[in-house]
């Protein structure tokens, strides 16, 4: 049982017009085996939260804390966070020319577990995980994200999550750009991994569509860098009906 604890998190970015505040005090506690959906309009700070958790250098933490089972996450480098059990499935995974998927996965697995995986077992694990995500075995020979379709990129993110076995995963708009079939495959993957490992999930999305496949325990509505409302699954249904207008008009 692990706890990811975010307290009064305030984050800004540098722009040409100077520093811009994005997160204005976010409180969020996620336990193992829980799914939290973060919803909200564009520009509300959802992705900033995701990248701040992962430690992207673009974001400056002005205040607050993030702890993982009491350990100070903000003190950790990007790779240390990953080794501590945090995983970010990115909205726009970048291409790494000349680095094959299989080489990348093996290097990452070795880094996370501190030793090289046993070859035979590892090949079986990779093949099995790829099958479950309905990825062709030849995928391993392609260069990371190079020429991948939107769906392939997202499946590749989930494939990594399955193999690296994080304690907490942030899924940043994993549903964007997916057709119904791909959405179902990706969602099944998330549910399966959660079922097997007790993964805690922070599911960031603009739309309610993915919540039909991945059932959230908690829903948080982000507006203007803060959580404007929290609730259970019924809150997502309401957003489906009403959209975000109510929050925007209220000028929270």
């Amino acid at each position: 049982m692990s706890v990811l604890d975010i307290k009064d998190l305030r984050v800004s970015i540098e722009t040409e017009q100077g520093s811009k505040e994005i997160l204005r005090g976010v409180d969020l506690t996620i336990n193992s085996d829980e799914i939290h959906a973060i919803m909200g309009p564009n520009g509300s700070g959802k992705s900033t939260l995701a990248y701040t958790l992962a430690g992207h250098p673009r974001y400056t933490v002005d205040g607050g804390s993030i702890t993982l089972d009491g350990e100070d996450v903000l003190e950790m480098s990007v790779d240390e966070r990953a080794r501590a059990g945090l995983f970010l499935a990115m909205q726009y995974p970048v291409e790494i020319p000349g680095v094959t998927v299989s080489n990348f996965l093996r290097t990452a697995k070795t880094a996370i577990s501190g030793e090289a995986p046993r070859v035979r077992e590892w090949i079986g694990d990779v093949r099995g995980a790829m099958e479950k995500l309905r990825m062709d075995p030849s995928f391993g020979e392609r260069n990371v994200n190079e020429g991948f379709s939107g769906g392939e990129k997202k499946r590749h993110e989930i494939l990594q999550m399955e193999l690296l076995r994080p304690r907490f995963a942030v899924l940043d708009e994993t549903d964007s750009g997916l057709d119904v079939d791909a959405l179902r495959i990706v969602s099944e993957g998330v549910n399966r991994i959660k079922g097997e490992t007790g993964l805690g999930v922070l599911l960031i999305t603009h739309y309610t569509r993915i919540l039909r496949y991945i059932q959230p325990d908690h829903v948080h509505v982000f507006v203007n860098g803060r959580i404007a409302e929290q609730g259970g699954r019924e809150l997502a249904d309401r957003l489906e009906e009403e959209g975000y207008d109510r929050y925007l008009k209220a000028g929270v």
């Binding site: 480098s77 966070r81 020319p97 000349g98 990452a108």
Partner: protein, 404 residues
């Protein structure tokens, strides 16, 4: 990263005096005296390390003396039956396509009496790559060579020139790919750090023929390999790939020329370079010319450089000249950058430490070219050399944001 699609340049080629010299109109001569001594202001010398290349500008006898500057290890060629005796300057096909374009090349022509002639016989398919091993015997020794590689009609094969050791070595390489032949030619510059090497490659590709030409330079003090390829035949195809790794004090240069002359030819030029350390330098000048009769041409050229530390400099100049309106496609691109932060972030976010992430990115960057070589021994040697370079560079500070 920038990519530019260039519009036909017919507006620039009116009958008036045009100060910028067209690549195809560069003067040629077999007589070194016609070129004079370069001053460093000439278009083909202005980014070169003339100071260190100076020994190659000396027009002196280099075939006398008991110990040659270069030992030619030709056992593999001999065993494969690819060597042809060639005596004298007039021995065909020497000079069939080659015309010296600078003084070093003219001296090499003049001072090399007997060319090394490598020939893939007509219709022969050479399954295994064949490696010629050229070893320099001393940094103070001056050598000149003319080498002819001739792929006879319908032949298929891969020829590698592997350079090691040290020397002051001027070299002409004349490549003739006759109709329907498919040749891969790889020149590897694996010299010691005090070698000075200038080489002019001139290739012609005939009807339905294909040439993959590769320049791989990671050793040597000054390495200047200038390849040109003329796609002369109908549907001739050419690929020109280059890979370089410049360390502190190394000057690696390539002036690359792809000339689409025939109808429906296809050309692809891709050169990649990594640089690290104070004074590391690379120069790439790429010219593509689509001739007046070269209708249906499909052409692309690109140069990418990755600057790993401060203090290194990459010059990259792509040129594209189109003399017909009827082409299938033409484009060029040049990009010089430092590490991509997003790539590093992605790898680190998977638990990979920063240094290892950098290693992956650099190797990946260069691997695109390595993977095209298709000669296992050379690919392995190269992978090893890249690792060695990275170990050497590990202590150096990464390029700062403004540095590239």
């Amino acid at each position: 990263m920038t990519a530019t699609e260039t519009t036909p340049a017919h507006l620039a080629t009116e009958d008036r005096f045009v100060p910028i010299q067209t690549r195809s109109e560069r003067p040629t001569s077999f007589d070194p005296a016609d070129f004079g001594t370069p001053t460093g202001r000439e278009v083909n010398w202005r980014l070169s390390d003339l100071k260190r290349l100076a020994p190659l500008l000396v027009d002196e006898e280099t075939e006398t003396g008991a110990e040659p500057a270069i030992e030619y290890g030709l056992a593999e060629l001999e065993a494969a039956g690819l060597l042809v005796e060639s005596t004298g300057h007039d021995a065909a096909p020497r000079g069939e396509v080659f015309r010296p374009e600078d003084v070093v090349s003219a001296i090499a022509w003049k001072r090399c009496q007997n060319a090394l002639h490598i020939r893939l016989p007509e219709g022969q398919v050479q399954e295994q790559p064949v490696i010629a091993r050229l070893h320099g015997t001393g940094a103070d020794r001056h050598g000149n060579a003319h080498i002819v590689v001739e792929a006879m009609p319908g032949s298929v094969g891969t020829i590698v020139l592997h350079h090691s050791g040290s020397a002051r070595y001027a070299q002409n390489l004349e490549i003739i790919v006759r109709e329907g032949a498919r040749l891969t030619l790889v020149s590897v510059q694996d010299w010691q750090d005090d070698a000075v090497h200038a080489s002019a490659h001139q290739a012609v590709v005939g009807d339905g023929a294909y040439l993959k030409h590769m320049v791989v330079s990671f050793g040597g003090g000054v390495v200047r390999v200038n390849p040109s390829m003329r796609l002369a035949g109908h549907r001739a195809e050419g690929e020109m790939f280059g890979l370089s790794f410049s360390d502190s004090g190394q000057h690696i240069e390539s002036q690359v020329f792809m000339f689409h002359e025939g109808v429906e030819t296809r050309g692809d030029v891709l050169y990649k370079g990594a640089l690290q350390g104070e004074g590391a330098r690379s120069v790439w000048i790429g010219d593509v010319l689509i001739g007046q009769d070269a209708t249906g041409t499909d052409s692309y050229e690109k140069n990418q450089n990755l600057v790993l530390t401060d203090g290194a400099r990459a010059d990259s100049i792509p040129n594209l000249e189109i003399k017909t309106g009827d082409i299938a496609g033409a484009g060029h691109a040049s990009a010089t950058g430092r590490f991509d932060d997003e790539q590093l972030f992605y790898l680190q976010s998977r638990g990979i430490e920063e240094e290892e992430a950098r290693r992956l990115v650099v190797i990946g960057f260069l691997m695109e070219i390595v993977q095209k070589i298709g000669v296992p021994e050379i690919e392995e040697r190269l992978a090893e050399a890249i690792e060695e370079e990275l170990r050497r560079g590990a202590g150096l500070a990464p390029a700062s944001k403004a540095g590239a």
